[in-house]
Each structure stands twice: as structure tokens, then as C-alpha cells.
Assembly symmetry: C2
Homo-oligomer: 143 residues x 2
DNA sequence: TATATAATATGATAAAAATCATATTTAAGA
DNA sequence: TCTTAAATATGATTTTTATCATATTATATA
């Protein structure tokens, strides 16, 4: 439903949102440790996220990863879409392709409301907003 | 979060709930086709489900799979637990082990309510109740 | 402009999940 | 009680996901 890779990517963005800035770029190795993901693995994911404009980077000395204004306004769904592809979250819980709101499978039927709410939330909440919850002391890292 | 195998198992139980009885047992091959799962794969899962008392079976001629009264009262969570193990659904969306209601990660924080509702539903709804939705015309197979 | 530092591209390996294949056991019915 | 029809047990294979390794490219700064 949501892959390990997506989870790692979300963690990385949350970490960058709360710790980096254009003047304070963070290297792979300094991201991997605190978010608890293998360095070589997160490195690959970060590269992919850069290509898809979800995060920013600079090479060479003083280089590293950070989030610019645009990056901060990405949503969780944006991340999952890039890493896992579009459809995973849109499909019903049993991955039935003939299942939809009009003709729902039994599980879909009983879960529809909650499920829609989750998707809506993931669609609306930006990384920036999530990071704000942390600054307000409502939510917590470590990741 | 919820494996393919679990999805297949849920589909199988829903199919049996709506089509089988102790007097009308259904063979592997007649389950595999309508629920759209490879025969050899579902066979293995069905065997596991029998061992864990989630479904019933009989060998030999006139044999096959069916649900007894006890089986019909199993919940979706029961199925997922048997196939995927206990923890998968209880963990937070990012699989953080230090994340909980009191000290939630940002994602957990914004999804908590919907997520709890889903888990509660999966915990309470029995296979029998789900099948009833179908009989009442509120929900639909095919699977 | 040489050096060192950092991301990038590419691909190999390992682990897990999904799928397939088959010999064995059980039981119904002729 | 023999034959046949079914599940069961076991394990092999394939595919996908996760992980690791490294040579290449870009850039700050001495």
C-alpha cells in the first residue's frame, strides 16, 4: 500500500524541513543516521527526489540537500506518487479494479469514509505544514 | 501495510461466505477463478487458513472449503494477523517504533483519528457482516 | 587551477514476497 | 476394498523490493 521507500522518503523530507535551509545544506550521511535509514539506500532515494523536484541539492564542498520554498509545499501524496507510482493509494483496499464508490466491495463499503478522509489529508497537508506541527510541539521527531 | 496474501485471503473468505456452506463445499479451482488469484497460490493460503481455524475444509470426493459458524464470526483483523502477523497494522504509517498517540510523528498526528476508525472497523466487522452487506445489495462482489 | 568534497549515475547483490509444481494423505462411493 | 477426487505438505522458482558499492561529475576554496 505504501512502500518502505516511500516511508523513507517522507522521513527524509520531514527531516530536511525541520533541519535544513539553503544556507544549511545537509549531507547524505547526516540525513541517514537521524532518520534511521541505510546510507546507500537513502542516497539513491534522495537522488530520485531531486530529479522529481521534491527536494533540492548542491554538489561539492558545502553541498548537500535542502528544501526550497517550492519543495516545502509538496504534499505527502506527491512523495508517494513519485516513489510508488500514482495508483497505489487510489485503489481500493483489496486492490480490486472493478471496485469503486458506486459499486464498492464489502470492505470498501465499510471503510470508504475513513479512507477518503485519509487520502484528502495526504493530498492537502504540505511538508511545511507537517513540520509546523513539530515546531508547535504537537508532533514529534525522531524518525 | 497489508500484503497481497492478506488481500487474497480476505477475498477467499468473502467468496466462501457468500457461496459456500457445509453442504456446498467449494474446491480450490472453483475459488481461484472467481476471486482472480492464481490457483496454486490461493491453495497454499487456504491451507494456512484452515490450520488457523479461519476456514473449514474436507478432503476427498465432495470435499472442498467452506465456512462454519465459528469461521463466519472471524474479523478482517483476524485474517490479516494470521497472514501478515500482528504488528503491521498497529504500527504508525511510517513504521516508526517510537511513535505513539502520546508522542506522535507529524503524519501520525494528522491521521490518527481516521486511522483509529479504520482499525476499529476492521476489528469489529465480521466476515458474516460483510457478506450481509452484499446480500442487502449495499456492497458488491466480484472479487 | 589544483584539491578535496559532495552529489550523481549505474549496476550488483541480498532478502522477501509471490508464484508454481508435485508427491502424499484422506475419504467418498462404486 | 478399489478407484478416484479432493485437500495437505513441502519445497523450488520467479519476481519484486530493499540494500550495497563505486566510478564519475560538479563546485567551493586555498
Amino acid at each position: 500500500m505504501i512502500s518502505n521507500s516511500s516511508k523513507y522518503a517522507i522521513k527524509a523530507l520531514l527531516y530536511l524541513a525541520t533541519h535544513s535551509s539553503i544556507d544549511n545544506k545537509i549531507m547524505v550521511k547526516d540525513i541517514a543516521k537521524p532518520i534511521n535509514v541505510p546510507k546507500a539506500y537513502i542516497a539513491k532515494l534522495l537522488q530520485q527526489l531531486v530529479r522529481e523536484n521534491l527536494i533540492s541539492s548542491a554538489r561539492g564542498p558545502k553541498g548537500g540537500f535542502y528544501l526550497d520554498e517550492d519543495n516545502l509545499n509538496k504534499t505527502v501524496i506527491n512523495i508517494i506518487s513519485v516513489i510508488d507510482g500514482e495508483d497505489n493509494l487510489n485503489s481500493c483496499m483489496l486492490s480490486l479494479n472493478e471496485c469503486n464508490e458506486n459499486k464498492p466491495c464489502p470492505l470498501h463499503y465499510v471503510l470508504s469514509a475513513s479512507r477518503n478522509k485519509i487520502i484528502k489529508t495526504l493530498n492537502n497537508k504540505t511538508i511545511n505544514e507537517l513540520a509546523l506541527e513539530v515546531k508547535l510541539g504537537k508532533a514529534f521527531l525522531p524518525l
